[in-house]
Amino acid sequence: MPLAFLLLFALLVLASVYYFGQHWAPVLAASSLFDPRLKMVLLVLGALFVVTQLALGISLWRARHRPVASSARPLRDWEWIWAGTAAVIFFGLNFAGALIFPVGTLLGPSPQKDSVRVEVTAEQFRWNFRYPGPDGRYGATKPSLRDAAEGNPLGLDRSDSAAADDIVTATLVIPTDRDVEITLRSHDVIHSFFVPSLRFKQDAVPGMDIFLHIRAERPGEYDLVCAELCGIGHNSMNAKVRVLPPDEFDRWLAEAGTR
C-alpha cells in the first residue's frame, strides 16, 4: 500500500508540473503582477504539497518495513515550530499580496486625466458598451425606454442633448496607451466582467455603479466572458475586446461617432 501511494503521488506531481506549464492563462495583454505572483505561490504551496504528501507516504512505508516502534516522542515542540512556520508562510503570502493588490487593483476611477471612459452594461445575455462621445457626458437613460429590438438596449433618452453623441457598441474597443475608465452596471441580475487576458474580473451588481480602470498594452482581440451565473444564457454571454494602437483607436472612435 505505501509504495502504491507514493507512486500515485509521484504521478500527480509530474502531471501537475507538466500540465500547469501547458495550461497557463491566456496571452497576457496588460502589465499585471498576476503571473509571476501565481507562479511564486504555486511553487511555495507546491513545495508544501510535496513535503506533506511524501511524509504521509513515508510514514506508511515505515510502518510496513520498520520493527516495532517505542512510544512516540512528545510532539509539543515540533508542533509550535510547525504552526509558527505555517503562520509565517501563509501570512507572508497575504501581506505580500496586499502590497500588490492596492497597486494592481483596478477599482476606482482612473487617476489619469486623459483616460478613455466607457460604460459597460451587462444584461441577460449580452454586453453593451457605451462611449460618452465628444461632449464627454453620458446621456440620460430610463429603464422604461430599454428596447434591444429597437436598437436601444440601454434605454437612452433621446430627448437628452448629451445622449445624441453617445456611441453604443457590442464590442469593447480600447487603446493601448491610456487608462480606460469603466463604469460597470447591470440591468437585471448579477453578471461578472471577466477578461482573462487582462487578468481581471469584477462583478456587475444591479443597483451599483462600480468604477474600475484597466490599461491594455498588447494590441489584439481578446475575449470577455461572463463569470457569474446569470441564467440559461450565462455561457453564451461573450464579447470581444479589441485593443488598438492609439492612432487606430482615435480613428475608430471618430468614425464610430459619425454613425
Binding site: L8, L75, E79, S144
Partner: protein, 566 residues
Amino acid sequence: MTVEIQPRSVVSRVFSTHHETIGRQYFWLGLIAGITGMLLSAVMRIHIAWPELRLPFLGEVKPETYLAFLTIHGTLMVFFVLNLVPQSGFGNLMLPAQIGARSMAFPVLNAVAFWMTASSFLVMVAALLVTGGAPISGWTQYPPLSAIADSGPGQGLGTDLWLISVGIFCVASSLGSINFLVTTLRMRAHGMTLMRLPLTVWGWFVAAMLSLLAFSVLLAAAVLLLSDRHYGTSFFIPGGLTVNGALVHHEGGSPLLWQHLFWFFGHPEVYIAILPGMGLTSHLLATFARKPVPNYRAMVHSTLAIGWLGFLVWGHHMFTTGLSPYATLAFSALTLAVAVPSSVKTLNWIATLWNGRTRFGTPLLFSVGFVSLFITGGLTGPLLAQPALDVYLHDTYFVVAHFHLIMGMAGIFGIFAATYFWFPKLSAGRLMNERLGRAHFWLSIIGAYGTFLPMHFLGMAGQPRRYSQVPETVRFLMDLMPLHRFITVAAMVLITAQIIFIVNLFWSFLRGNNAGENPWQATGLEWRASTEDEELLVHRHAYEFFAPTDGEKDFRMQHEAEENKG
C-alpha cells in the same frame, strides 16, 4: 451498546425515538441523496464533454436542465450528504455509546428533527421534478436571479420549493444540534471528562455549535428571499431593473446583502461538513497506528480555533463584488489564519502515523486518503485567499477543484471511513468485505484525483464555472475540450468505484463476516461488551495504545479498571 426495549408496532418502529435507529435513518437518507447527486453530476459531466449527445430519458440536455442539475447536485451534496451523514448519521449512531450514555438527551426531538429533514428532502426532490422547472441559480441562489421569477426557467415554483425545503432543513438542523450539545455536556459517563473525549466527539460537538449559530442565519435569509418573491419587499432587489423586457417593480434592496447573509452561514457550513471527518481521521489513525494522538490538547484547540475562525472569513467569497479593499484585506488575513490550525492538524495526522505499528485495513486507507485529499484541496485555500489571485480565479474551475477535493472528496472519504469502521454498529454486528473495500479505495482515490486535479488547469486557463456548455465562439475555451473530456472519463471511473461500495454495503448487511465484540481492538466505549453497562466508570483518555510486552494486548479501553492513566 445501549439496552432499550424496542417498540412493537410498525409505526413506532418507523418513527422510532431510539438514537441508533435515527442514526441509521439519516445514513440511508444521505445515501439516497448522495446517489441522486452523483447521477446528476454524471449527466452534467457527460453533457459538457459531448454536448450533442442525446441521453436516455432526458434527450438533449438543455441549458436549463444542466443548470437545474447543477443547483440540485450542490444542494443535495452539501446539505443532505455532507451535513447529514457525518454528523446526524454517525453522530446519532455513535455519540451516546462513545460517551457512555444510554441515549441522546431529547429522543423525541431527535425523531422530529429526522422526519423534518426527510420532509425537506422530499420537497427538494419536488423542486427538481415540478413543472416550470427546477431552480437554475445554483445552491448559492444569488438574487436578483433567485428573487425574480421571470429571470429564468425554474425560478418560479422551483425556487420557492427550494427555499421551503432549505427552511425546513435549517429548523431540523438546529433541533438536532441542540440535542448534540446537551447530550455531550450533560450525559457523559462518570470519569469521562471533556479532555478524555474521543476526538470524534469533539468534531461533533464543535460542528453542532457551528450548526446552531449558522443555520439560523440561513433561515432568516431564506425567509427574506421568500418575502421579496411574494410579499413585495425589496431586501435584495434594487430599483431600475428590467427582466425580459418588463420593468421590475421593486427598489431599495441590495443583492450583496444576500451574499453576506448566505456566506455568513455558508462558510461555517463547510466546516460543519468537515470537522466530524477530521475528528474521525484522528481517531482512526490513532487506532490503526496503535499510538495515542500526539498532543491531544492541540487537536482540541485547533478544532475550536477552526470553528471560531470559520465565522470570521465569509467575505472571501465576495472579493470580486466590489467590497472595500480594507474589508478585503481583513477577510484575506483571517482566511489565512484558518490555515494555521488546519496545518497543525495535518502535521498531527502525519505524526500519528510516523512511528506507528500501523495495521492496514480499509478504514485506515480511507483515513489516509482523507489526509491526502485534505492536503491537496486545502493548499489551494491560501492561494484563493489572496485577492490579487482570486480576482482572476474566482468563479473559475479552480475554485470548483478546491472545494470538491477538500469538501467533496475528503469529506466523502471520511464518510466511507466511518462506514467501514462502524459497520458492526450500523448492521447487526457484521464487517464489510475487506477486498472490495480496498478496491473501492484505490479506484476512488485515483478517480478523485483524476477528476479534480485537472480542474485546476481549467481554472488557470480561465474557464468560468456553471457554463452549461463550452461556447463555440470563444477559442481559448474550446481549446480546453480535451481536458474536459479527460475529466469526464475520470469522473466515470470515480462513479463506477462507488458501485463497488454499494454492492459491498448491501452484501455485507446480509452476509458479512461476524465482527465480534471489538474487531479493530479500539479503545472507545462503543466497543465494550454490552453486559458492562452498570457501574460504567471511565479511567483514562481515549487513545491508550502502547508497545506490548510479549503476548499481551497493546491497548486499554477507556473503561478498563486495570491501571489508572491519563
